[in-house]
Symmetry: C2
Subunit: 241 residues, 2 copies
DNA sequence: CGCCTCTTTGATAAAAGTCAATCAGGGTGG
DNA sequence: CCACCCTGATTGACTTTTATCAAAGAGGCG
């Protein structure tokens, strides 16, 4: 985990290509300039390493700049539940705001880089900038919605619907990032997908194979191509957020 | 839905018996006094009525003063997922902060009363009160944790563990309120419990019956007594938050 | 008292998990 | 450069869990 101070203007939020997805989402050009004050540092995390782990002091929230990560809970028995896969432009660590130490961990699925927003900086600087307060509330509210949506997926959908929803969700988030929504590489294993979706890795694998057999997708290992988006959406029900 | 302005000092946060559970949790005596400014109104909702519904403008967050409510999502196909049961002292509507209109609804399980904290008031008053900003961040962070915990329950636990966890969770929250943790009345139907836990009402009913047969609980309709808390905890795994 | 809703219980079916045996790819060291 | 090994993925056979369908019972309220 390597810390890198942000000094060049080209590295700031106001100049970032992710600025209409990440922390600055929905903010005016001028307001984004204020955000630059908050983000003074980046951190590099190599594949498999943790950004923060259970019991670590909550110091900051993080915007994923590049790479891919997962966030997960772990109970006393060691049982793990992945609560999210994080793509560039998405925020990590908002669940820490409720405590002084982390109850979850964030792990890099591949070599990644995050921008750091220190909590103490938020407290110090933002009283004079109500727009940033609203922004944090909005982002946290979105995180609650995401999690509720996940509860709905786990509570109401059958395995094939969960897997279809998962593929469509990844696809649409990649599209937002400007990547192809049709063809992409999964950054996580079948086991991680299964854990996330409340299924076993075998069930996930079987459904991928079935979708391929039915010409809904092409899949070879982690290389996915969506061949029939409409049919997948049909299968997913409606909610493919 | 009846609005009631708060005028008497005895109705304010600083005098409320729920003050160490509700919005003021963890705040100093002086800081709670500041909260009084925010809470100018209460609303009464009778059983079965909604506090806010899908598409309603997000105007406020609410602290449940008395009664019991549920919050739920509803997808385009009409499929419902209950995301939480709300007891007195708990906060409703934090998921609205991510949007301008509600994507969830809050329904009264029995005649209830909530205290209203208007979002515009938060924006107006709080810039000068950083402690309240922190408080809202903390509360929203707790809400994210709650929801993640629910994801874990749905993703990793088997039906008997989910039901045991549910009973222990309700029991411990009632204990926090000063009620008996041993004996209580469920305010929701078997169907609502099943929906919440991602199970059918029959499965919930069968497990209640089985727990009763094994002398872990006494249950008659909605009247529950926990007879063997340790055994239930054992059954639940560990996480009984 | 009777109706209506909620709950319980049983029989059966469907979904998903478990266990186990390959199979494929990627990386490493000879 | 190639063979080998190790991890991750696929597929099959079988079991367990949970849902579905159906019927009967209990309580509450007009």
């Amino acid at each position: 985990m390597k810390r890198i101070p942000i000094t060049r203007d080209s590295d700031r939020c106001s100049a970032c290509i992710l600025s209409d997805i990440c922390l600055p989402i929905g903010m005016s050009r001028q307001d984004v300039a204020l955000l630059d004050e908050f983000v003074q540092e980046r951190v590099r995390i190599s594949k498999g390493k943790v950004l923060f782990g259970l019991g670590d002091t909550v110091e900051a929230i993080y915007g994923l700049r590049s790479g891919a990560m997962k966030t997960q809970l772990q109970d006393a028995g060691g049982q793990v539940q992945i609560t999210g896969f994080v793509l560039p432009g998405e925020i990590i660590g908002m669940d820490g705001m409720g405590n002084t130490t982390h109850v979850s961990q964030a792990v890099a699925l591949e070599d990644s880089e995050v921008c750091v927003v220190r909590v103490e900086d938020i407290d110090q600087i933002s009283p004079s900038l109500p727009v940033l307060q609203q922004q944090f509330r909005r982002l946290m509210g979105m995180e609650i919605n995401r999690s509720h949506q996940m509860v709905m997926t786990l509570g109401t959908l059958r395995s094939e619907q969960r897997v279809a929803t998962f593929l469509l969700n990844i696809s649409s988030r990649l599209a937002t990032l400007g990547y192809s929504s049709r063809n992409f590489i999964l950054r996580m294993s079948r086991e991680e997908i299964g854990n996330y979706l409340g299924l076993t890795l075998e069930t996930v694998s079987r459904l991928f194979s079935r979708f391929a057999r039915e010409n809904l997708i092409y899949i070879k290992q982690r290389d996915v191509t969506i061949l029939d988006k409409e049919a997948l959406q049909e299968l997913a029900g409606v909610s493919c957020d």
